[in-house]
């Protein structure tokens, strides 16, 4: 480890620079990052080392409140909630992250083409985006789930379809702003090929927008996955996701409130953390001057 972060002259390692970059965020965003890191690490430990036991084994009495033996209580079948919670966190985070990665790739590609090339292709991309955008998110999601069949794939597809239109639009707008600048014109005049301009000049200059929109898309993704699983069209039993756990918790809400409170609180914390990071990124990439009327 020490070898990796050793400072060699004035060039510092990638890890060190990444750490410095993360350290430059404000306190609220740092707390948010720590929250996500803790959630993810706990879920990873649960997956790798079986922390908290098996998520499907029936181990104890039904609806037992949280205790030393069952740190998060047990559910209606006598399964310990903690491992199911960890599995749910893993599923929700991983599913959303993969979906948003897909969204980012599709939206960046389409957005740059629509914003830089414009023309008929660009118009078509924007029009398709408008059509998808006209569907209320959860309605589009359950329609997709009904066609594909409930499960991981349905959740993945609906997250992508819900998040792509807005992100494409934002990337397109950012691209149009960059495309008007002089250095693009001079690159065109110097005979730089269009793909090179798109990747080297446009992409680098809109990376901030992509980061901000990607972060917000991640919070939408968790919302959509949660809502879909809550309605019974997302992740299916015996799998586990935070939305599914909340849905299960509603059945025994009065007798065993921890079944709904724990997944609910974790879900809100995860979305909150991601939104705070998004805000922080936005303040960084799109700095605005503030003035008060005092």
């Amino acid at each position: 480890m020490t070898a990796v972060i050793r400072v060699e002259g004035r060039r510092r390692s990638v890890l060190r620079r990444a750490w410095d970059y993360l350290a430059s965020f404000d306190g609220l965003a740092k707390t948010a990052m720590w929250t996500l890191a803790v959630l993810f690490t706990a879920a990873l430990l649960g997956r790798l080392f079986g922390l908290g036991g098996s998520p499907t084994a029936i181990v104890g009495p039904r609806l037992a409140p949280p205790s030393l033996a069952y740190p998060a209580g047990t559910d209606s079948l006598g399964r310990s909630l903690l491992p199911r919670l960890l599995e749910g966190v893993m599923t929700t985070l991983l599913l959303s992250a993969v979906a948003v990665l897909l969204t980012a790739v599709i939206a960046t590609l389409c957005g740059i083409i629509a914003g830089y090339r414009g023309g008929r292709t660009g118009g078509l991309i924007m029009r398709v985006g408008d059509i998808l955008y006209a569907f209320p998110a959860i309605v589009l999601a359950i329609l997709v789930a009904a066609v594909v069949g409930p499960g991981y794939v349905a959740a993945l597809c609906s997250i992508v379809l819900v998040t792509v239109p807005l992100m494409t639009r934002m990337v397109g707008q950012a691209t149009r702003l960059v495309a008007q600048r002089d250095f693009i014109t001079s690159a065109v005049i110097s005979g730089v090929s269009t793909p090179v301009i798109m990747t080297r000049h446009v992409l680098r200059n809109i990376s901030g927008t992509i980061a901000v929109q990607g972060t917000y898309a991640l919070s939408v993704a968790i919302l959509v996955e949660g809502g879909l699983s809550f309605l019974g069209y997302g992740v299916q039993l015996p799998g586990s996701s935070l939305g599914l756990l909340v849905q299960e918790g509603t059945l025994y809400m009065v007798k065993a409130p921890w079944l709904i409170l724990l997944p609910g609180v974790i879900l809100v914390l995860a979305i909150l953390a991601i939104n705070l990071i998004g805000d922080s990124l936005r303040d960084r990439f799109e700095p605005r001057e503030a003035r008060s009327l005092e």
Binding site: L28, R127, V128, D130, I131, A134, F135, P136, A137, I138, V139, I142, L143, V144, A146, V147, G149, S219, L223, G226, G227, F230, L231, Y233, G243, V246, Q247, G249, T250, M253, V254, P257, I260, L261, G264, L267, V268, I271, L272, N275, L276, D279, R288, E289, A290, R291, S292, L293, E294
Partner: protein
């Protein structure tokens, strides 16, 4: 009128979006798994009966033909019969529309009444440390609370403890409006939380954007009172992005209603749509989803027109041309 210059194009794009959405809905519903005739007639039917049913619903024709037939009928307000209840889909939807409309309307009222003042406060106090951080945290928590978690929490609290309002006791607003409003109070509040926070955030950003403009500094220098500046100079400019957001919020309220109605057992369009999907009630799904997209498309069209009317720059341009 500058409005007339862009209105035809805007209308055309609304029609294109609606047509595109209708094709998408039609394609999605037709590719739903499961044989339609089997679902309607049950397992005890024979092939002859099923064939007859398919013919009577026009399923033996080609897909484009079926689509045009459906679209033509839909344009005249005929969405066919619900496969589950054999009642006209339009009547089924119309009987549930008042509930969802009231729910969404109440949530919209709360959104405007709380979201905009909150955003103006946060925006005008943005550079004074503590208030800004508090506003940022509160509005971020607001957009981070999924309505199914918040709804379940509210149901839990109000069913566990006696807090004055009961959950689950639904009164139809068409039968008794007053009690209908009261029974929809909690669902509407849950539905509005995200929208209040989103509106507050947008208003705050817009206000901050306007406050740094030179004409505000000029107003301050002229010694105009603070309230006057906010009402006349800041709000009029800042409300334009907020107005644009209203279209998105309308769509959001429709989507959110699906979940909130499910959580609170409210018999509106949203819970009916989920039921229809469970029952593979093709005609209802097609009509319901088309209705939802149409509401969004029409709302955003109206709001664009409204923005054109409100935006002072448009009227200045009009005056300058002597029109």
């Amino acid at each position: 009128m500058r409005l007339l210059h862009w209105l035809p194009g805007r209308l055309l794009s609304a029609v294109v979006v609606l047509l595109g959405a209708s094709i998408l809905i039609f394609a999605a519903v037709r590719s739903l798994p499961g044989d339609f005739a089997q679902i309607v007639l049950g397992p005890l039917s024979n092939e002859e009966q099923r064939e007859q049913l398919r013919q009577s619903f026009g399923f033996d024709r080609s897909l484009p033909e079926q689509y045009l037939l459906w679209l033509g009928n839909a344009a005249r307000g005929d969405f066919g019969l619900s496969l589950a209840s054999q009642q006209p889909v339009l009547d089924e939807l119309a009987s549930r529309l008042p509930v969802t409309a009231l729910l969404a309307g109440m949530a919209m009222l709360v959104t405007i009444a709380i979201g905009i003042p909150l955003g103006v406060y946060a925006g005008t106090h943005a550079s004074t440390g503590r208030g800004s951080v508090a506003a940022r945290i509160v509005s971020t928590i607001g957009i981070s609370f999924p309505e199914f978690v918040l709804g379940c929490l509210v149901v839990f609290l109000f069913s566990r403890f006696d807090l004055g309002l009961s959950v689950g006791a639904f009164t139809s607003p068409t039968a008794d409006f007053g009690r209908g409003v009261v029974s929809l109070l909690l669902p509407a509040l849950v539905l509005s939380v995200f929208c209040v926070a989103a509106t507050a955030r947008t208003t705050r950003d817009a206000v901050i954007g306007v406050l740094v403009e030179p004409h505000i500094a000029a107003s301050v220098a002229r010694g105009e009172p603070k309230g006057f500046i906010i009402r006349h100079h800041v709000l009029r400019n800042a409300l334009i992005p907020v107005l644009t957001l209203t279209a998105t919020i309308t769509a959001y309220l429709l989507g959110g209603a699906v979940i909130v109605e499910r959580v609170f057992n409210v018999p509106g369009i949203g819970s009916y749509l989920v039921l229809a999907l469970d029952r593979r009630d093709y005609t209802v799904i097609q009509a319901g989803v088309l209705l939802a997209t149409a509401v969004f498309v029409i709302a955003s069209l109206l709001i664009d027109v409204l923005t054109g009317l409100v935006d002072p720059r448009v009227s200045v341009a009009k005056k300058g041309r002597g029109a």
